[in-house]
């Protein structure tokens, strides 16, 4: 075979021989989620726990019927600590890292067919049926002085007042001034006035609406 005889088909064959991954595994694919697997277990290389069943789609998001439903496809997250599997019917992007057929991974969720309201400089966690936020040692919502720090400041202020109430009418061996009813009342008044500053912030916690997305 000389260069003149090389057809496009020959070239394709030669390139695929050199770069086998090019035969489909380098392309990101759209897919639609068919099932989300739930239940706690350790995510292992051969047996992912974060996994979904999905169906490949064509470039126009129509279902690609040449492919059966692919089961137990690994699901990647945007962060180690934020776990948010897509719902059934959500469109996602699938890729094969290292161009290998054993590495299929759902790498992103698309917002197709969803009501969205993007806001600049804003991370939205919204429209989820349940939102669970937990931390192992500290959970801080807010910034600087305006933190909701699990009521720490209120607790310490109330503890001071409780101590003073306990000490009411008791005598001190060292002759120090003892708390009187007046001084306790003054402290309570101060706490009352600064209560809002101490524990309130711009964080609003409440229940959203359960209305359908569209």
């Amino acid at each position: 075979m000389n260069a003149k005889q090389l057809t496009l088909e020959n070239l394709k064959g030669l390139i695929l021989r050199l770069f086998p991954g090019l035969a489909g595994y380098h392309v990101f694919r759209y897919a639609i989620i068919k099932k989300v697997h739930e239940g706690a277990s350790v995510d292992l290389a051969i047996n992912p726990a974060m996994k979904v069943d999905l169906q490949f789609c064509k470039h126009d998001f129509s279902v690609d019927n040449t492919h059966k439903v692919k089961r137990n496809v690994r699901l990647a997250g945007s962060s180690e600590f934020i776990q948010a599997p897509p719902n059934e019917g959500t469109y996602v992007l699938v890729h094969f890292p290292y161009w290998m057929c054993s590495t299929a991974t759902v790498i992103a969720v698309l917002y197709l067919d969803r009501l969205v309201q993007p806001e600049k400089d804003t991370i939205q966690i919204r429209d989820a049926k349940n939102t669970k936020i937990s931390a192992k040692s500290e959970l801080i919502l807010g910034e600087g002085e305006d933190q909701a720090v699990l009521g720490n400041e209120l607790v310490s202020a109330l503890q001071t007042i409780c101590d003073k109430i306990v000490a009411l009418g008791q005598s001190d061996n060292w002759g120090a001034p003892l708390p009187t009813l007046t001084s306790v009342q003054t402290d309570l008044e101060i706490v009352k006035q600064t209560l809002a500053d101490s524990i309130l912030s711009d964080i609003k916690i409440g229940r959203g609406t359960d209305a359908p997305l569209i």
């Binding site: 086998p20 991954g21 035969a23 692919k70 054993s102």
Partner: protein, 237 residues
């Protein structure tokens, strides 16, 4: 050279046998066999024939070929090109998801798609189970299996006549290597030797040359020079 047995070549169809006067056959590991032949009579284009090579009172059925073209050159002289239909098999669509499979099971699924059975020759290769998602053709699936299981020496071979798919874990047939006889030897070239025609010298066959074992990678047969050009497999590849 004159005392070397005459090697003749024939094409066998369902109802006829065609004598081949001249032939050039290119056989290579993991590649379709290509034959350029001269026949005394025309043969239909696009039919399956069996390539026979006769040597020392034995007829070897080499493989299936599909005739690609037949053109008349002179009276009673027809040039025929035929190719082993390996490529058609490799191009068969193969979209299959198989989970937790090892090398052998993966290949079994691939072979079963075209109705072949899997035979393994050589020491079994220890592979970790993998979740495979094949989305292309058989050729692509084979390339992926080789890449995912990090196969180095291993080769596949298709035996079309037996409908068998072979996994040769050492890249060769498991047989004791045959020494290339010195009286068959013609000359040496880079990466191989030229010998008299011996049908048993096929790709994947282990032979001994210069005291070392080699695997035949390419075997080109030319009836005009009554020669066989044998290229050895590069072990570094």
């Amino acid at each position: 050279m004159t005392d070397h047995p005459y090697v003749y070549c024939r094409l066998e169809t369902r109802d006829k046998i065609y004598e081949v006067t001249d032939y050039q056959i290119h056989q290579e590991r993991q590649r379709p066999t290509l034959a350029k032949m001269t026949l005394k009579e025309p043969i239909e284009k696009g039919i399956n024939v069996i390539l026979q090579v006769g040597y020392l009172n034995t007829v070897y059925r080499i493989t299936f070929l599909k005739t690609l073209s037949c053109s008349q050159i002179a009276k009673e002289t027809f040039d025929v090109v035929a190719l082993e239909p390996v490529r058609q098999i490799l191009d068969v669509e193969f979209t299959e998801q198989i989970r937790g499979v090892n090398l052998e099971s993966s290949l079994k699924s691939i072979a079963a798609t075209v109705g072949f059975s899997l035979k393994t020759q050589g020491a079994p290769l220890l592979t970790k189970p993998q979740n495979m998602m094949f989305i292309g053709s058989i050729r692509n699936a084979l390339d992926q299996v080789w890449q995912v299981f990090e196969l180095d020496q291993a080769r596949w071979a298709m035996m079309l006549l037996k409908q068998e798919f072979h996994l040769l874990t050492a890249g060769k047939f498991i047989a004791s290597p045959v020494e290339i006889p010195m009286d068959y030897f013609k000359q040496e070239f880079e990466g191989g030797v030229e010998t008299n025609i011996v049908p048993m010298f096929r790709p994947y066959t282990p032979v001994i040359w210069n005291g070392t074992e080699e695997i035949i990678d390419i075997a080109r047969t030319d009836s005009k020079t009554r020669s066989m050009f044998i290229t050895f497999a590069d072990k570094a590849l």
